[in-house]
Amino acid sequence: MPPRPQTFKVGRAAFLGLSGLTGAALLLGNRIPNAFSLLSGGTNVNGFTIYTIAGFPTFDPATYRLKIDGLVAKPREYTYADLLALPSVSEVRYYQCVTGWVVPRPRWHGVRLWDLIQAAKPTAAARALRFTCMDGAYSESLTLDQAKPLDVLLAYGLNGKPLSRDQGQPLRLVVPGMYGYKFAKWVNHIEVIDRVVPGYWEQNGYDINAYIGRSNGL
């Protein structure tokens, strides 16, 4: 073997340097919001990564209606102003997406879902709710029991401001304790039905009962 040329131990240093940088990003990166997010599969608003399956529908306060019908004695229709006039509730609840990212303390403002359902007087056959949205594509489901807790909301505000268009303006379902895909955006129709109809992601393999840490194999 020819005499070894002069060498420098670069490989190990490069490896340790990269690992150190990544470790620092892991421990400190969240103090600089999104500093290291190059391509996280969506834009980021208020700490939320934004997903949509069919674009962003446009909200017009003059024509928007929230319809509640199906197995109810009194079908209802609310304008945006009607919703704002109802008693307002705020809830701060941990939010986690099924893909892993979390928002620790979002503050939702809105009306209690169960108040609206009760006002419509569900019939004895009613068992579940089906939510559909202004984009004509997304849907979600809840059992009546899952809709009862006081912190299940139809939210029109987040962190003291009205919901932005990409976060579900004007109305978004908020189900604390469940993964983010339950938080249907742009909700404009709630149908009271006699059994659960799987929502958009639930038809694609997500768990219907989306409890954080107890579903989706997590």
Binding site: M1, P2, P5, Q6, T7, F8, K9, V10, G11, R12, A14, F15, L18, S19, T22, A25, L26, L27, G29, N30, R31, N34, F36, S37, L38, L39, S40, G41, G42, Y51, I53, Y94, Q96, V98, T99, G100, W101, V102, P104, Y200, W201, Q203, N204, G205, Y206, G213, R214, N216, G217, L218
Partner: protein, 324 residues
């Protein structure tokens, strides 16, 4: 005796015409390490993209199955190459590591003017050029970084939210960087006309001698690989089995410290296959539990593995006749 002559081993009396024309670039261990990591990487990339890109998720569905496949492939991606190296020709892997580690001024020159046509300009490239060294360094780094951030995402309820969301960002960014590096690697090794001969080295083990002289003039290649011996294959398989069991136990010990998630099918799988006598059942395991039996088993396996490595070095000295 040079390193490469040592790799070729004794017992090569007359090189065949084929062996003169072609020289050994990657031995069986090096090839197997490469393909274990390559195949698991492709599975991880496919399932990872299907999980991470919401548009694909709507087409493919079945998130739980994708996730389990991703986790099992990840286990093999992280532990597989080291286990193969351990059970195979360790010295060749160690030599690879030292060559990747040691950079010469020529490597810097090569980086300043990287070329796929070295006949026009040839710094003294040895076994690996600077680009190949960078690729190897990145691969080792990415394996560690994917493993750590992936573990945090897997056991996300056991870590603070800031760490989990940052692990998600790093895991995702790194996946796209690794995809880019992989596409470059694929192009240079399988498509680009002047460099694709290197793929032969990774499939058959040998490359054309003239090609090697042009692209790696500073490398003294071996002609032929030592023949496979039955007892060494047997020993390698036994070491692989022991090594797999040791990795499962190590992961299991980590889980018990973190608090294992018994609803997770992959965690259940790890518990089933590492369930040696006396170890905790996954339903009994809890937060910060100390599984003494698993630790003792891990120690025993480590001792057995070390004994088997020593045996490889000692036996030929004790019984020189056994080599032929």
């Amino acid at each position: 005796m040079t390193m490469d002559a040592a790799l070729a081993g004794p017992g090569i009396a007359e090189p065949t015409a084929e062996a003169v024309q072609r020289v050994l670039r990657f031995n069986r261990t090096q090839r197997l390490v490469h393909w274990v990591q390559a195949i698991t990487f492709l599975i991880l990339l496919a399932t990872g993209l299907a999980i991470g890109i919401s548009g694909l998720q709507g087409i493919i569905g079945n998130r739980a199955l994708l996730r389990e496949t991703h986790l099992i492939a990840a286990f093999l991606f992280v532990f597989g190459p080291s286990l193969v190296a351990l059970a195979g020709n360790r010295r060749s892997i160690k030599d690879d590591a030292s060559e990747v580690d040691a950079w010469t001024p020529e490597d810097v020159q090569w980086l300043a003017h990287p070329t796929t046509r070295p006949e026009t300009w040839t710094p003294m490239v040895r076994r690996y050029n600077a680009g190949q060294k960078l690729n190897a360094i990145f691969t080792v780094y990415a394996t560690l970084a994917f493993g750590v951030t992936g573990l945090i995402l897997w056991q996300n309820r056991r870590f603070p939210f800031g760490i989990v969301s940052q692990a998600n960002v790093i895991h995702t960014d790194l996946a796209y960087i690794a995809l880019a590096v992989f596409l470059g690697h694929l192009y240079l090794s399988a498509i680009h006309p002047t460099t694709r001969e290197s793929l032969n080295g990774m499939i058959r083990g040998t490359v054309d001698r003239a090609w090697a002289r042009t692209h790696h003039p500073g490398w003294a290649p071996a002609l032929q690989e030592a023949p496979l011996r039955f007892e060494s294959v047997l020993r390698s398989l036994a070491m692989l089995a022991l090594g797999l069991e040791a990795s499962l136990l190590a992961v299991r010990l980590g889980f018990e410290w973190l608090g294992a998630n018994a609803t997770d099918p992959v965690t259940k799988l790890i518990y089933r296959f590492s369930g040696l006598p006396g170890t905790l059942h996954h339903q009994a395991a809890g937060l910060h539990q100390f599984d003494l039996a698993a630790l003792i088993w891990l120690g025993l396996l480590a001792v057995a593995l070390v004994a088997m490595t020593r045996a490889e070095d000692l036996l030929p000295r004790l019984m020189p006749a056994a080599r032929n």
